[in-house]
């Protein structure tokens, strides 16, 4: 089907508008980060006089971003890997009906998406257990095998033939070995989606760190950056540099992973 020329131009016009709306804020952020405070106050929107990186060094020194980044990496990696593991251990037998009441378990696990906010009793419990303000406590809260990744996994396992289970069992492969050496490699597309969804969720979480990690040494980048903002709100060039320090690793990582996110994994998984 050929399209009229005006329609094609219309498409590109909309795309152009969107790109301005999504890229200009980033460009502006970068521009501000290269200005001196004097330069910014004189005219916030003018182009920076020169490529100047001293604000980054200054922000890095003042903001303890090394510590925050390390904390975020720790929380994100551990909770993402554990959650994936728990998700598949839960999803496989439920999807196959290898445990009794598997449809009950399915509903039981997903109902927490709708249930009342658990925030307050959860806090009382964590406090009782001595897990308030600990790294383990926070990781525990971010780990679980029952959310949206569990749901995607149940759907995906259905598309893997049951005969494969039977053939492996016939050859003497046990349940645990089958699950970990044969099934998990087959679920790669969902694992990719799962890594992305879980990692984005934990890396960008700000509410739970604010509630549970009052010790600044334990703060992830989100909380650290927010605290940095509180200290330097009147120094936007410095603050902009801090924002970029936090955002740059994500943008680089995203550049490598985006084809999994946008083209395949996230999209494909929702079709199941």
């Amino acid at each position: 089907m050929k399209e009229a020329k005006s329609v094609v131009i219309g498409r590109y016009a909309v795309v152009l508008l969107l790109m301005v709306l999504y890229l200009f804020p980033l460009f502006y952020l970068f521009n501000v980060s290269m200005k001196t405070q004097f330069e910014y106050l004189a005219n916030p929107v003018a182009l920076a006089e020169q490529i100047r990186l001293s604000n980054f060094a200054e922000a890095w020194k003042l903001g303890r971003f090394g510590q925050y980044l390390w904390n975020s990496v720790l929380y994100t990696t551990v909770s993402t890997l554990l959650s994936l593991l728990l998700s598949i251990v839960a999803a496989f037998p439920i999807s196959r009906g290898y445990v009794r009441f598997s449809s009950f378990f399915y509903t039981f696990f997903l109902i927490s998406l709708f249930l009342p906010n658990a925030l307050i009793p959860q806090f009382a419990l964590m406090n009782e257990l001595g897990l308030y303000n600990t790294q383990i406590g926070y990781i525990l809260l971010r780990t679980g095998g029952t959310g949206i990744v569990f749901m995607l996994m149940v759907g995906y396992v259905k598309s893997i033939s049951r005969e494969l289970d039977e053939a492996a069992a016939m050859d003497g492969c046990g349940y645990v070995r089958y699950l970990f050496t044969i099934l998990i490699p087959l679920t790669k597309p969902v694992l990719a989606t799962g890594v992305i969804l879980l990692a984005i969720g934990t890396w960008n979480d700000i509410i739970l760190p604010v509630i549970y990690l009052s010790d600044p040494n334990l703060a992830p980048v989100t909380k650290g950056l927010f605290a940095f903002r509180g200290l330097y709100l009147n120094n936007w060039p410095l603050l902009a540099s801090g924002i970029i320090i936090v955002a740059a690793p994500l943008i680089v990582l995203y550049a490598f992973l985006q084809k999994y996110i946008v083209n395949g994994a996230l999209a494909g998984a929702f079709k199941a």
């Binding site: 089907m1 498409r11 909309v14 795309v15 969107l18 999504y22 200009f24 804020p25 952020l29 929107v45 728990l86 839960a90 037998p93 445990v99 378990f105 696990f109 109902i111 927490s112 998406l113 709708f114 249930l115 009342p116 906010n117 658990a118 925030l119 307050i120 009793p121 806090f123 009382a124 419990l125 406090n127 525990l140 679980g144 095998g145 029952t146 289970d165 492996a168 069992a169 016939m170 492969c173 046990g174 349940y175 645990v176 984005i200 700000i206 604010v210 989100t222 927010f226 903002r229 936007w236 603050l239 924002i243 955002a247 994500l250 943008i251 996110i261 083209n263 996230l266 999209a267 079709k271």
Partner: protein, 297 residues
């Protein structure tokens, strides 16, 4: 049939299933139910202070105390936030998905850019928009000045909440769009060709082919957006801290329990229960409404 052996080995899957089940019950499901109990008590977060059941007191306080007007406005804002975010975000996302579903030069790049805010997260996005909406000569202020106007943006009682809604939609539009694109790409193109021959194009092709066939994606998007919009408050935390008439039910749960100088767990739980009633009603309504519109290819 379970192929992996009999006897004791038959119980391995169940034993393994308990590994995710126990933490779920202890740290998520259990506390969720306990919220109901808490909402009828005067518990605080200070250890050692005894608490007791107070009946419907917390709920009465919410609706009749001297600041009940604030509470009711927060309910109104929650609904306003949920409706505008859900409708605008999904409408724009669907429109953009349809545009990007055709081959365009650089389409992969456009999709990646639109999804970028989801990756950057609420703190980074929030601060970027505070910079954009800086009342002291920020770019948006400059544009307003051209028309002889100015605004305090996130510090303005009039539009702070609308701006929060704008940032929320800007942030998650790419996410909804990605799911719509997946739905669009699953539609066989020969359906459109057949329709074209029958004279259906443009709006009528959209109305009679696209819309029914992406209904599953719409259900997922709508449901997730409704639940998310009614429960989210991190964007409010980052942008205004609930000031300037931007508090919602979800924010009030947090503020009553963990806000500065406040530790009223009983009252916060009651607000949480009121929030739950709304989530439940709208989620069920959306599910019934959109599921009925789904068709099989």
């Amino acid at each position: 049939m379970y192929p992996f052996g009999k006897g004791i080995r038959r119980h391995v899957p169940f034993a393994l299933l308990m590994i995710p089940t126990l933490p779920y019950v202890i740290f998520a499901f259990g506390p969720s139910l306990v919220t109901v109990v808490f909402s009828f008590t005067n518990a605080t977060c200070i250890p050692g202070i005894p608490w007791e059941f107070v009946g419907w007191e917390n709920y009465r306080t919410f609706f009749t105390a001297s600041n009940a007007g604030d509470n009711l406005r927060a309910v109104g804002r929650s609904l306003y936030f949920a409706f505008t975010v859900v409708l605008i975000q999904n409408a724009v996302a669907l429109f953009v998905a349809i545009i990007l579903n055709r081959r365009l030069k650089g389409d992969v790049f456009y999709r990646a850019v639109l999804f970028l805010p989801v990756v950057l997260g609420v703190t980074v996005n929030g601060l970027i928009w505070q910079l954009m909406f800086n009342p002291m000569g920020g770019p948006v202020q400059r544009i307003l000045n051209l028309f002889g106007k100015s605004s305090n943006f996130f510090g303005s009682y009039d539009i702070a909440f609308e701006l929060i809604i704008f940032v929320q939609i800007w942030m998650y539009m790419g996410y909804s769009m990605t799911i719509f694109l997946a739905g669009l790409q699953a539609i066989p193109s020969d359906l459109y060709e057949a329709a074209y021959i029958d004279g259906a194009r443009g709006w009528s092709a959209f109305r009679h082919i696209t819309l029914p066939l992406i209904a599953p994606a719409t259900t997922v998007n709508m449901l997730m957006a409704i639940i998310g919009a009614l429960q989210t408050f991190d964007i409010i935390y980052v942008l205004t801290g609930g000031k300037f008439e931007t508090s919602t039910l979800a924010w009030n749960v947090y503020a009553a329990a963990f806000g500065s100088g406040s530790a009223d767990f009983g009252f916060a739980s009651a607000v949480g229960m009121i929030q739950f009633v709304f989530v439940f009603i709208f989620a069920v309504a959306a599910m019934v409404f959109f599921r009925r519109r789904e068709v099989e290819i």
